[in-house]
């Protein structure tokens, strides 16, 4: 095993799984102990990610803090991890939101043990995806993350959960298997065959092969982004997700597609990526507009927010494929932003549902009078989500749109801008219908406002939103070098002929 210094990163990846293992041996009756252990391991994971952040060298584009270990030497499989500017904030957003996800289930009675253990396993899977530098290891995490989420929705979920889980599982599994085929091809395209990410970079590939392989990876990543028209599993999964909201938070972190595009699809197949970029930018724009339009007419708050994430992910997709450093910076940051803002919104919706037993907007009216704290927080997170300056999403969307405007996709960026207007329409209109107006519907009942504990849960998210909104520099300087490297890779070529001439002076 080789690594620089203590393997904090690897420790961080497996800390949640270790917590899940400990929980497995606690009897199901000891609910206090179970949730304490779960929260402790989620918080410890966050602390470890802070150690990783402290050890991160700003200004370096390459991978840091990882380790390499031989796993199956005969087949050139390694355990290899590392982190760079692309994955850093995605990792931290994940470790940041998971304690919130665990805490939303604090008062849960029904099979708490399995619930939190599966949540922790999901977290290890997501962190593993972000940190794997070996295609085998990556696929392992990529695919196994699916299983705990599948059980979480299927066993604790609400209405239509069977339909949603089967759809969710088959969609993502089908995509993954297509990608597995592409990984096999890549394995043999290198001499000697290898799964190592860094070794596979720059493998010469003809245009036909690149397009085919790009589409193979695309199938999986587009489903997990999700890009329109492959998004339909997501609103269904959110709708069926358990009412405690923790799974919704996990699902916002489960959007691993953008990372896959940035890390694998573009650097491995730059020529194909450039060729396909207009198509994907088109899909992303369609997502921004279409998802926003669909969100406007949703009656279920959770479905509304689910569609809003599809729109956000459209922005992220746009920023990735326009091919400028600014836009890519924005996309990476925006991924972390959507995890925080939408995650927090989902938590608030869960609080609402626990109090009102409904999520339907027509049932609600004038809730603000009954629950000033909850509605105030909802407004702040909604404003963040729609891109109010001074809050986090504004920075991400601004960078994406500016970066797109500076690229060859100028007029596409103009269309994208309308997406932010639509976001204001669906979020504020929903807010107005549910929280303002005369007190009516379920608000006529006696309902409690947020407890201090519940406010405290969301306070860190609030702080992070303001921090990113006012001092984005701290975040972007760490993304910048790696983003610049990816953009450079995107504009390079791995075609066999151009490669041979590239080496000439």
């Amino acid at each position: 095993m080789t690594h620089q210094g203590f393997p904090w990163l690897d420790l961080m990846i497996f800390a949640p799984a270790a917590g899940a293992l400990v929980i497995a041996f606690i009897p199901g009756r000891s609910r206090n102990l179970i949730r304490s252990v779960a929260l402790a391991s989620a918080v410890a994971t966050f602390a470890l990610s802070m150690v990783v952040l402290a050890g991160f060298h700003t200004g370096e584009a390459g991978f840091q803090e990882g380790s390499v270990m031989r796993w199956v030497p005969q087949w050139n499989v390694h355990y290899a991890t590392g982190i760079d500017g692309i994955s850093l904030w995605m990792v931290i957003a994940t470790t940041f939101m998971m304690p919130v996800s665990i805490m939303t289930a604090w008062n849960m009675q029904d099979r708490l043990k399995g619930y939190v253990a599966l949540l922790l396993l999901t977290q290890t899977g997501i962190l593993g995806v972000f940190c794997s530098l070996d295609m085998f290891l990556f696929y392992l995490f990529w695919e196994t993350t699916l299983v705990p989420l599948y059980f979480l929705i299927g066993m604790w979920g609400g209405r239509r959960r069977l339909y949603a889980t089967v759809k969710f599982f088959l969609y993502t599994l089908a995509g993954s298997l297509i990608m597995l085929g592409a990984i096999f091809y890549l394995y043999f395209a290198h001499q000697p065959p290898t799964f190592s990410y860094t070794a596979l970079l720059g493998t010469p590939l003809g245009m036909g092969a690149q397009l085919l392989l790009f589409l193979g990876f695309f199938a999986s990543f587009a489903i997990k982004t999700p890009l329109i028209p492959l998004h339909t599993w997501l609103p269904d999964a959110h709708e069926a997700a358990p009412r405690w909201g923790s799974v919704d938070v996990a699902l916002t972190l489960f959007k691993l597609g953008p990372y896959g595009f940035i890390r694998f699809a573009i650097p491995f197949f730059p020529d194909a990526a450039r060729t396909m970029a207009p198509v994907i930018v088109g899909m992303a724009l369609a997502g921004i507009i279409y998802a926003a339009a669909v969100a406007i007419v949703q009656r279920d708050l959770k479905r509304l927010v689910a569609y809003s994430t599809v729109a956000h992910l459209g922005f992220i997709g746009l920023g990735i494929f326009v091919g400028t450093v600014t836009a890519l910076n924005g996309s990476v940051l925006q991924w972390a932003n959507q995890a925080i803002s939408t995650g927090a919104l989902f938590v608030l919706i869960a609080f609402l549902q626990q109090r009102l037993d409904t999520r339907m907007i027509p049932d609600m009216s004038g809730l603000a009078a009954r629950m000033p704290l909850l509605s105030g927080l909802f407004l702040v997170f909604a404003l963040s989500s729609l891109g109010l300056p001074g809050l986090n999403n504004f920075i991400g969307e601004f960078l994406i749109l500016v970066g797109s405007f500076a690229s060859g996709y100028r007029w596409w960026a103009v269309i994208g801008t309308f997406g932010t207007v639509l976001a204001a329409v669906y979020l504020l209109w929903a807010y107005q219908r549910a929280f303002h107006g005369p007190v009516g519907g379920v608000a006529e009942r006696e309902v409690r406002d947020l407890r201090p504990r519940e406010v405290a849960m969301l306070a860190p998210a609030l702080a992070a939103m303001v921090l990113i909104g006012f001092y984005p520099q701290a975040f972007i300087t760490r993304i910048q070098p790696s983003a610049a490297k990816v953009v450079k890779q995107m504009h390079s070529s791995v075609l066999p002929s151009s490669r041979s001439t590239a080496g000439l002076p």
């Binding site: 695919e143 699916l146 299983v147 066993m155 089967v166 394995y187």
Partner: protein, 501 residues
């Protein structure tokens, strides 16, 4: 008068087989002279000790087999390929014995005869993996087949069991006849039934590599008949018709044994026959096997989608798995052989575990085997449902399970040989197959339990004895272990590509 030359007799090549035969007779003798309660306690131990000694003989000859020799007038091969298969087969035998123990006592069946049958059966299977001559191969095939016919119909008071045993027997006898005809035709074409040749007589291998212009028409016909005979045993389409019925009607421990050990033995013969002896004819036999592989994967995966009986679902899944292993055989390279062995070993462990669970849930008379009977199993028995989930995920090929690694290595071997399009078909069928495995999981975890009927009917509670629990535990651990730490096993399987001859 010519002196009679006694050929040198070395028994190390068939020491495990002989051990198992002795153990089988010991079981029978002890059984006759003692009472049932004594038998129930002691006989599984006797059988296990027999398997243990057989494994010991196999393991000690691993070193000798570095030179991969032929023994008994070149009738059996002592090579690492055979040893690998023998050790795995013995392990399957042990697991089957302990799974069957509970099952037999639940059904008040005499059990020592069953253990003897398992021992005879595994002995024949081991010989099958080691046979270097088509005649020996046939003897081995018949040895284990006849024992299996009896085991399939072991619950002889049940109509379903009788029917499936009858079906299996008739079709099995038919396929044996095909196999025999194949041997005759191959003999006619090459002048030998021996793969490697006996002193003074060239075998099939040297015949094929030696003669440049040979008339292969007769040989190809013989080969086709051999494929029919062996394709029946591995349950490949279109020779699969018996599989769902036999798997459904047989006692679940026997079904698990058939799916794991029979497949391994028959595939061992296929690997030796096609990837070694007839390697130079690979361009002729590949089309046959490719057709078989694609048909098995497609029909196995698609037909399983509409099944309502868990045993039938697993039967069709085993047909699909035969197709997956065939892609490794078709690769016909070292990676193909080692990955097929790895696949068969891990698949066998998984499916034995799965059928141990099925046997436990089935209860007396195995009446609880429909998909609807698995509703809410999680609430009833979380550990059993968890183990079954693990097995199903492994069968579906989800990572961190052995099933995923098996698929990975087999597909990589096939791509190495240039059959990437076959792998594309296999991946597509894996996606289809995922659906019916998920269906079982959905039913176990996400459906409410069937309410017991007012008159006291409804599902019987699940009972699983200590032995059954141990089998499920061991196979579940193995499924995870070989999914994560698969280097050592694939390394051993890599050594097992060392064939005699």
């Amino acid at each position: 008068m010519t002196p009679f030359n006694v050929p040198p007799i070395h028994l190390s090549g068939i020491a495990p087989e002989i051990t198992l035969m002795i153990a089988a007779f010991a079981v029978l003798f002890i059984g006759v002279f003692t009472n049932d309660r004594f038998n129930h306690v002691v006989q599984p131990l006797v059988a296990t000790i027999g398997f243990g000694i057989a494994i010991y003989w196999a393991v000690v000859s691993w070193g000798i087999a570095r030179t991969a020799e032929l023994q008994l007038s070149n009738m059996v091969a002592l090579d690492r390929f055979a040893i690998f298969a023998k050790v795995v087969l013995a392990a399957f035998g042990v697991l089957t014995v302990w799974t069957a123990r509970d099952h037999l006592s639940t059904h008040h069946l005499r059990d020592f005869e069953f253990y003897a049958l398992v021992l005879f059966c595994v002995s024949g299977m081991m010989l099958m993996a080691a046979s270097a001559d088509l005649i020996v191969m046939f003897i081995a095939l018949e040895t284990f087949s006849i024992a299996l016919y009896v085991m399939v119909g072991y619950r002889r008071d049940e109509l379903a069991g009788q029917e499936s045993a009858m079906k299996y027997f008739l079709l099995g006898a038919f396929s044996s006849a095909f196999f025999l005809l194949g041997i005759a035709l191959v003999y006619g074409a090459t002048g030998s039934t021996n793969l490697y040749g006996t002193p003074g007589h060239p075998g099939i291998l040297s015949f094929l590599t030696g003669s440049s212009a040979l008339d292969v028409g007769l040989l190809l016909l013989g080969m086709a008949f051999l494929i029919v005979g062996l394709g029946f045993k591995i349950a490949a389409v279109p020779f699969h018709m018996w599989t769902p019925d036999a798997y459904q009607g047989a006692p679940s421990p026997v079904t698990g044994f058939m799916a794991s050990a029979t497949k391994l033995a028959a595939f061992a013969a296929i690997l030796r026959l096609f990837d070694v002896a007839m390697y130079s004819l690979r361009w002729d036999w590949r089309p046959y096997l490719i057709g078989l592989a694609i048909a098995s994967m497609v029909i196995g995966s698609v037909v399983a989608l509409v099944q309502e009986d868990v045993k039938r679902i697993l039967a069709y899944s085993s047909i699909a798995h035969a197709g997956f292993v065939l892609t490794g055989v078709i690769a016909a390279n070292d990676a193909g052989v080692s990955s097929s062995l790895f696949y068969l070993a891990t698949y066998g462990l998984t499916i034995l575990g799965a059928f141990a669970v099925v046997a436990a849930i089935g209860g007396r008379g195995e009446r609880r085997v429909r998909l609807a009977d698995y509703r809410g199993l999680y609430h009833e028995s979380p550990l059993l449902a968890g183990a079954m989930t693990l097995f199903l995920l492994s069968l579906a090929g989800v990572p961190i399970t052995a099933g995923f690694v098996g698929k990975l290595v087999v597909f990589i071997a096939a791509i190495q040989a240039g059959y990437w399009w076959l792998v594309v078909v296999a991946l597509a069928m894996s996606a289809v197959a995922a659906f019916f495995y998920i269906r079982i999981i959905v039913v176990m975890y996400m459906s409410e339990r069937l309410e017991p009927l007012p008159e006291g009917g409804g599902p019987a509670p699940v009972v699983l004895g200590a032995a059954g629990r141990a089998v499920v535990g061991v196979t579940a651990l193995a499924t995870i272990f070989f999914g994560l730490i698969w280097g050592p096993l694939i390394g051993l399987a890599g050594h097992a590509t060392l064939f005699a001859g």
